[in-house]
C-alpha cells in the first residue's frame, strides 16, 4: 500500500523549488514509499522506551569560546557570487519577505 501520495511529492518538490515532470513524481512517490517502508521495519524493533535519536554519537555541549577568529575579506566573500555590486551580493527581486 502506498503511503506517499503523488500530491505529497508535488508539494515537497514545490517547497524545495525542484521542477518535476508527472512521470518523475509518479516514480519518486513509489521510491520514497519503499524508503518509508524500510524505515518502518526499523521502527518495529524500537520499543516505546527508546527515545528519538537525532545524533548517533553520544556527545553533547560542544561549544566554542566567544572569541573572534578568522573572517573572509569582502573580496573573498563575493568571489563566487553570480553578481555583486562590489560590496554586496546582487540577487533578483523576490516576492516575499524576511521570515
Amino acid at each position: 500500500m502506498s503511503e506517499i501520495s503523488e500530491e505529497q511529492v508535488a508539494h515537497l518538490a514545490s517547497l524545495a523549488r525542484i521542477a518535476l515532470t508527472d512521470d518523475e513524481i509518479t516514480n519518486l512517490a513509489s521510491e520514497l514509499d519503499q524508503i518509508v517502508n524500510s524505515i518502518a521495519k526499523v521502527q518495529e524493533v524500537a520499543t516505546d522506551d527508546v527515545p528519538a535519536t537525532s545524533h548517533p554519537i553520544p556527545l553533547r555541549n560542544v561549544y566554542r569560546p566567544d572569541v573572534v577568529g578568522d573572517t573572509l575579506t569582502q573580496e573573498q566573500a563575493l568571489q563566487n557570487a553570480p553578481d555583486d555590486d562590489g560590496q554586496r551580493f546582487v540577487v533578483s527581486a523576490i516576492l516575499g519577505e524576511e521570515q
Binding site: R64, D66, L72, F89, Q99
Partner: protein
C-alpha cells in the same frame, strides 16, 4: 487604508475583545556569532564580518557559541522560565536570500527555556502578568536592501545582500495569548516591550537598541466578540521597532479589524507591514503552503544539556527582578510616585539609571530624559533612547553644574549632540556655546548698556535694584545668552554703585 475604514477605538473595544501575542527577537551582545567565530558587529563595511559558515559555503560546519548559551539561559531564568534539561537545534527550511544556507538554524520542539511569566507595570501602577510560552535560540538573517523605484519590496528590480548580520545570536521570546487586556491592549503592548528591554539591559546581554534592530517585536492581534470562546483570526505585524510604534500598531490593528468584522467581513490571516510614517499597517504575505518550514533536527549540532551547576550559577548571578528594581531605584533616587511613573512610562528607567551611574544627579537625569530629550524625540518621531547616550546626558549635566552652560545653552548643546556633532564638550567648542565667565567681557557689556540707558542707571543708584532687569536683558542679548544671569546682576549692581 483610509481612516474611514477604521472603527473608533473605544467603540471597537466595546464590541470586541482584543487578544494579543508577541514575538520579541533579542540580538545578543556577544563578541562573535551564534555558530561561527566571525565578529558580531554593527555598521561595518558590508560582507566583512563573515566566515564560510555565515555564507553557507560547502563543508563549513557550525559550532555553538558558549557565551550565547549562557546569555540565553540567563534570559530564560529572568523571564521566570524553566530551563530545558536537554535542548536541541533544528533547521527551519525556507528559500529567501537573507540566509545563504536556505535554512535558518533555530529551535523547534526543544527550546532552551519554556513556560515563564513577566510582570509588567502599567501607567496607573497596576501590574499585569504576561505568560511566556518559550524562549529559543536561533540565528539572525542577513540584511536585504531592495533596489527599485519604490524602495519597498513591491516594485524592486533586484536586492542587495549583506551577510554581516547573518548568524548573529538571537533569542526569540514568544508569549502565550494574552487575554483580558481590553482598552489597555496598546499600553500593555508597549509596557511589555519596555519590560523585556529593561530585563535584557539589566542582564547586560544585549545593547537593546531598537533603532538598530537589537530588539524587534512582532505583534499578533486578533479580535473576538465579547463572551465568545473561539479566538478570532489573527494578523502578525512584523518588525515593529520602537515601543511607541508597538503601541500604535496594536491600536491600529484593533481599529482596522473591528471595522472589517463590523461590516460583516473576515480577517485574512497574514503578516502585515508597519509603516512608521503613516502609522498604518499594510498586507504582507498571506499564510500559505510556504509556511511549511519542514523543521528537522540540525544534524551538524549536538544537544545543549546545561548542568544544574551552570543553571544555579546563572540564577545566582541574575539581577533583581524588574519590580524589585523599580522599588529600589525609586527610593534611591528619591522620586515621588508621579516622578517615577513619568520615567517608567517613558520606558526610560534604564537610561536614567545609566545617566546617574555616569555621574548625573537623579533630578537632573530625570529632568533631561522626560523633558527636553522626550520633547525632541516626539518632534522627530523617534524614540528618546535612540537620540542620545546616557553618558552624553551625564556630561551635559556636569557642564551645567560647573557653570560652563546655562540650561538654555545646554538645550542647544543637546541638539548638537543629537545631530551628531560630537560629545557635549565638542559641541560647546565647535558652536562656541560656553557661558562667558570672563568678568572683563561682561563688565564691558554692562558699561555699554548702562551708558546707553542712563535713566536706568540713575534708578539703580536711587536704590531701585529691580530696574537692573533691563540691563541684564541687554547684557544677555549682547552675550547671545551665553552668560550667567546671576553673575551679570551682581556685576551690574557693583558697577552702578561704584
Amino acid at each position: 487604508m483610509s481612516t474611514a475604514e477604521l472603527m473608533d477605538f473605544d467603540e471597537a473595544i466595546e464590541k470586541f475583545e482584543p487578544v494579543l501575542g508577541f514575538e520579541v527577537h533579542v540580538e545578543l551582545g556577544t563578541a562573535t556569532k551564534m555558530f561561527s567565530a566571525a565578529p558580531n558587529g554593527f555598521g561595518d563595511e558590508p560582507n566583512t564580518n563573515v566566515s564560510p559558515v555565515c555564507l553557507g559555503l560547502p563543508g563549513s560546519l557550525p559550532v555553538v557559541n558558549e557565551q550565547a548559551v549562557r546569555y540565553s539561559i540567563s534570559l530564560g531564568l529572568a523571564l521566570g522560565c524553566s530551563i530545558a534539561e536537554s535542548s536541541s537545534f533544528a533547521r527551519k527550511n525556507y528559500f529567501y536570500p537573507d540566509l545563504a544556507k536556505n535554512y535558518q538554524i533555530s529551535q523547534y520542539d526543544e527550546p532552551i527555556a519554556f513556560e515563564g511569566e513577566v510582570e509588567v507595570e502599567l501607567s496607573d501602577g497596576s501590574i499585569r502578568r504576561i505568560p511566556i510560552e518559550r524562549a529559543h535560540m536561533e540565528e539572525d538573517a542577513g540584511k536585504l536592501t531592495h533596489v527599485g523605484t519604490s524602495g519597498r519590496i513591491q516594485g524592486a528590480d533586484h536586492s542587495l545582500v549583506d551577510y554581516n548580520r547573518a548568524g548573529v545570536p538571537l533569542v526569540e521570546i514568544v508569549t502565550h495569548p494574552i487575554f483580558g487586556a481590553g482598552a489597555l491592549a496598546p499600553e500593555i503592548a508597549k509596557a511589555y516591550v519596555a519590560t523585556i528591554r529593561d530585563i535584557v539591559i539589566s542582564l547586560g546581554i544585549s545593547e537593546a537598541r531598537m533603532e538598530r534592530g537589537n530588539l524587534r517585536c512582532d505583534a499578533n492581534v486578533s479580535l473576538r466578540p465579547w463572551g465568545q470562546e473561539k479566538l478570532g483570526t489573527r494578523t502578525e505585524t512584523k518588525n515593529v521597532n520602537s515601543m511607541r510604534s508597538v503601541e500604535r500598531a496594536v491600536r491600529y490593528e484593533i481599529r482596522r479589524q473591528a471595522a472589517i468584522l463590523e461590516a460583516g467581513g473576515t480577517i485574512t490571516q497574514e503578516t502585515r507591514h508597519w509603516h512608521e510614517d503613516t502609522g498604518t499597517t499594510s498586507a504582507g504575505r498571506p499564510k500559505s503552503d510556504a509556511d511549511d518550514y519542514r523543521y528537522f533536527p540540525e544534524p551538524d549540532l549536538l544537544p545543549v544539556v546545561p548542568s544544574a551547576e551552570l543553571i544555579d550559577e546563572l540564577r545566582a548571578a541574575l539581577p533583581e527582578p524588574p519590580a524589585a528594581r523599580r522599588r529600589r531605584l525609586k527610593t534611591e533616587w528619591g522620586f515621588t510616585d508621579l516622578e517615577f511613573q513619568d520615567v517608567q512610562n517613558g520606558g526610560l528607567v534604564s537610561e536614567v539609571a545609566a545617566t546617574i551611574a555616569a555621574g548625573a544627579s537623579p533630578a537632573a537625569a530625570r529632568k533631561w530624559w522626560t523633558g527636553e530629550i522626550t520633547r525632541l524625540a516626539n518632534a522627530r518621531g523617534a524614540e528618546p533612547t535612540s537620540l542620545v547616550a546616557p553618558e552624553s546626558v551625564a556630561e551635559l549635566t556636569a557642564l551645567v553644574d560647573e557653570g560652563t552652560l546655562t540650561d538654555k545653552l545646554a538645550r542647544q548643546v543637546l541638539e548638537g549632540v543629537i545631530d551628531g556633532e560630537g560629545t557635549p564638550a565638542e559641541v560647546v567648542d565647535t558652536r562656541g556655546l560656553a557661558v562667558v565667565s570672563d568678568d572683563g567681557a561682561l563688565i564691558a557689556a554692562i558699561d555699554d548698556a548702562l551708558a546707553a540707558q542712563p535713566d536706568v542707571l540713575q534708578k539703580i543708584k536711587d536704590g531701585k535694584v529691580q530696574a537692573a532687569g533691563a540691563i541684564i536683558g541687554a547684557v544677555m542679548k549682547a552675550m547671545r545668552g551665553q552668560a550667567d544671569a546671576a553673575r551679570v546682576r551682581e556685576l551690574i549692581l557693583e558697577r552702578a554703585t561704584e
